[in-house]
Amino acid sequence: MNLQRLVAVMVKELRQLRRDRITFAMVLGIPVAQLLLFGYAINTNLRGLPAAVADQANTSASRAFVMDLLASGVVKPVMRADTPQELMDALRRGQISIGVEVPADFDRRQLDGREQVQVLVDGSDNAVQSAAAQLAGMPGSGAASPLKMQRPVSVVDFYNPDRRSQVNIVPGLIGVILTMTMVLFTAVAIVRERERGNMELLIATPLAKSELMVGKVLPYVAIGLIQATVVLLLGALLFRVPINGSLLDVYAASGLLILANLALGLLISTAAKSQFQAMQMMVFVFLPSILLSGFMFPFAGMPKFAQWIAEALPLTHFLRLIRGVMLRGAGLVELWPDVLALGVFIVAMMALAILRFRKRLD
C-alpha cells in the first residue's frame, strides 16, 4: 500500500464530505434527533393504559379496590362502563386497552377467597399483556385477603435499580445510529463514483484496490467517533445514563462497530448497480439489526435460527459490549468473545469488498 495514494484518497473524501451539506448535517443531526426521539419516546415501563372499570358491585369495598387499582398509575380510566358487554365493545373498538370487571358479588367472593375481579386485556399488544400481568399481581383490598401472600422469590435489580428505559436504550442507540449512518456512508461510496463516471478514471490509474477501499473507510471512522461522543454526552446530560466502565473501552467498542459497518457498506457498494440499489440493500441489513440484535427485544427470547442471524450482525455484539462496559462496568477483555466476533467480521467484510472490486469495467 502506497501512503501518498492512500492519503490522497482520504483527503479527497474529506473535501467532498465537507462540501456535501446534507451528509454533513446528517453526521450530527441523526444522532441528536434519534437520541431525543427514542430517549424520550421509548419506554418499556407501561403507564397510563386507557382503561374502563365496570363496577357492578358498587360497594364500599369494591370502590376501595378500584381506587387502589387506579392509584398504581398503570391504567387510566378513559370512559364509563356499566356491563361486561360494554367493556368488550370498547376493547374491540380500541377505545381501551384494559377493561376491569368487578362482579356484583365482589364482597362475597372476597370473603370466600375466590377470584374477585376479571381483567380484560387487549392481547394484540404484548406489552399491554405484561402490564396486565402486573395488575393481576396486585393484592386484593383488605388486610385479611387470602390473595395476599408472600412472594416466594425475591428479585434484586442490579445496574438499573429504578428501571429507567433510557439506561438501556441510550447505549444501544449509539449502536443503532452508527449502524444506520456508517453503512449508508460507504454503501453509496463506490457506486456513486461509478454512477458519476469517476470510477472509470480511477481504475485507469495505478491506484490500488486496497488504497481506494481503506482510504474511503478511514475518514468515516473519525466521524463515527464524533457521533458516538454526541450520543454519550447527551445521554449523560439528559438521561443520566452512567458510564460505569472505562471510557476508553466505550470508544474502542464503538470503533470496532464503526469499522464493521463501514466494511459492510463497502461490500454492499461493490455489489450494488446503483445508489438506489445500495439503499435497498442497506435497509435489508438495517431492519434485522434493529429487530434481532437485542436492541428492541431480548436476545434470549428469540428462537435458535433468529439467534444465529443475530450473531452474524455486528450490532448484536456491540450491544453486548456497550451494555457490559457502560452499565455493568465490565472490561473489554472480559467480553473478548464479542470483541473477537467484531474483529472477524471487519476482516472478512473488508477482504470480500476488496476481492469483489475489480479494476475493470466488465
Binding site: 479527497k12 470510477m199 472509470e200 478514471l201 490509474t205
Partner: protein, 318 residues
C-alpha cells in the same frame, strides 16, 4: 504536420474482438499505431471506438485477440501500463465537488507524481492550461470547454507516453475544439503518442493516420491523404436548379454509391467500377433533368461512405 516518427509501434493488436452476449462490439481489429503521432479513430456512435480504447487501457477484457501496448501484453500487464498512459474518458469523469486545483492535486498524487514535485507540476499545468484565476472553482460549475481542458490537464499530469482520448471534443464549441487540437499537436511534438476517437470528419483529417471503424470492424486505415487519394476519380459535383429531384433520380442507380446534397449542389460518389460520370449522365437523361457535372476532390466523408458500403449500390445514403 510532420510525418509520424517510424522508430516504434505504440499499439499493436491482432484479431482484437469483444463480444457482449450476442453483440459483437469489436470484430477482429488489427491495429498498428506508430509512436509520436496523433492517430484517429473515426466512426459513428456504436462503431466500437470506446470499447476498443477500453480494451487497450486494460479496462475491458478482450474476448479474443492479442494486444501489445508500449511493448506490454494487455490485459496481463495492465497494471504496469497504467503508470505510462493517460486516459481522457468520453464523459467528464473528474470530481464535480472538488476545485480545479484539488482535482489536479488528487490525480497527481494517485498517479505517483513524487511528493516534492507535485506542487510544481500542478503549478505548471495551471499556467499551461490558463487556470490561474479559476484554481479555486469547483469543477462541476465550469463550462464544457473548461471541463475538457481540465480533463486533458489531468490526463497528462504524470507526463504519460501514450494518451487515449475518447471523443474529447463532443461537448465543446468550435473554438475550444481548435485550441484543443493545437494542444494535442504540442503534446505529439513533445514525444507523446495520442489515440483520439472522434466522429467529426474535420478532426479526423487533422490526424497523422487514422482507422475507420464501422459496426466493430476496421474498414479502412492509413493517412488521410492516402485514403482520399484512393478515391481519386470517383467523386463528382452535380449542379442543378432542382437538387432534390436530381438526388431522387440518382439515388440507387447502378454505379452510384451515394448522393449527398450540399446547398444547391450534390456530391456524388461512384462505386469504383470506372468513371461515374457516364452513369450519372445516363440517370439524369432518363429522368429528363438538366444538370452540370464537374470533378471534385474526394474527402474523408467519401472515404467513410466508400469503406462502410463497399460496392453495395442498393443502399440509400445522403
Amino acid at each position: 504536420m510532420s510525418a509520424p516518427d517510424a522508430t516504434g509501434v505504440a499499439i499493436h493488436t491482432r484479431g482484437l474482438t469483444k463480444r457482449f452476449g450476442s453483440l459483437v462490439a469489436v470484430d477482429h481489429v488489427d491495429l498498428d499505431v506508430p509512436k509520436r503521432s496523433v492517430y484517429g479513430f473515426l466512426g459513428p456512435n456504436g462503431s466500437g471506438k470506446s470499447t476498443t480504447i477500453r480494451m487497450l487501457c486494460g479496462l475491458l477484457m478482450p474476448s479474443e485477440g492479442d494486444i501489445q501496448v508500449l511493448g506490454l501484453p494487455i490485459p496481463k500487464d495492465a497494471e504496469a501500463l497504467r503508470r505510462r498512459i493517460g486516459y481522457m474518458t468520453q464523459k467528464f469523469s473528474l470530481f464535480d465537488d472538488l476545485t480545479v486545483r484539488e482535482n489536479l492535486e488528487f490525480m497527481a498524487a494517485i498517479q505517483d507524481v513524487p511528493r516534492l514535485m507535485l506542487k510544481s507540476r500542478v503549478d505548471a499545468l495551471v499556467a499551461q492550461f490558463h487556470f490561474g484565476d479559476m484554481q479555486g472553482q469547483l469543477a462541476g460549475t465550469m463550462s464544457g470547454g473548461q471541463k475538457q481542458r481540465l480533463a486533458l490537464a489531468v490526463a497528462i499530469v504524470h507526463t504519460p507516453e501514450l494518451l487515449f482520448l475518447d471523443e474529447p471534443t463532443s461537448a465543446v464549441d468550435p473554438e475550444s475544439r481548435r485550441d484543443f487540437w493545437d494542444r494535442l499537436f504540442e503534446l505529439a511534438d513533445g514525444g507523446t503518442t495520442l489515440l483520439v476517437s472522434t466522429h467529426y470528419m474535420d478532426e479526423a483529417e487533422r490526424c497523422h493516420a487514422l482507422a475507420i471503424l464501422d459496426q466493430g470492424r476496421l474498414v479502412a486505415n492509413g493517412t488521410p491523404a492516402d485514403l482520399t487519394a484512393a478515391l481519386q476519380g470517383r467523386t463528382l459535383m452535380v449542379s442543378a436548379s432542382q437538387p432534390r429531384q436530381v438526388r431522387h433520380a440518382l439515388t440507387g442507380q447502378p454505379g452510384i454509391l451515394s448522393v449527398a446534397q450540399i446547398g444547391n449542389t450534390l456530391r456524388v460518389l461512384g462505386d469504383g467500377q470506372g468513371d461515374p460520370s457516364g452513369d450519372v449522365r445516363d440517370a439524369l437523361a432518363k429522368a429528363g433533368i438538366q444538370a452540370e457535372l464537374s470533378a471534385i476532390e474526394p474527402n474523408l466523408e467519401d472515404v467513410f461512405v466508400a469503406a462502410t458500403h463497399p460496392a453495395d449500390a442498393t443502399k440509400v445514403h445522403g
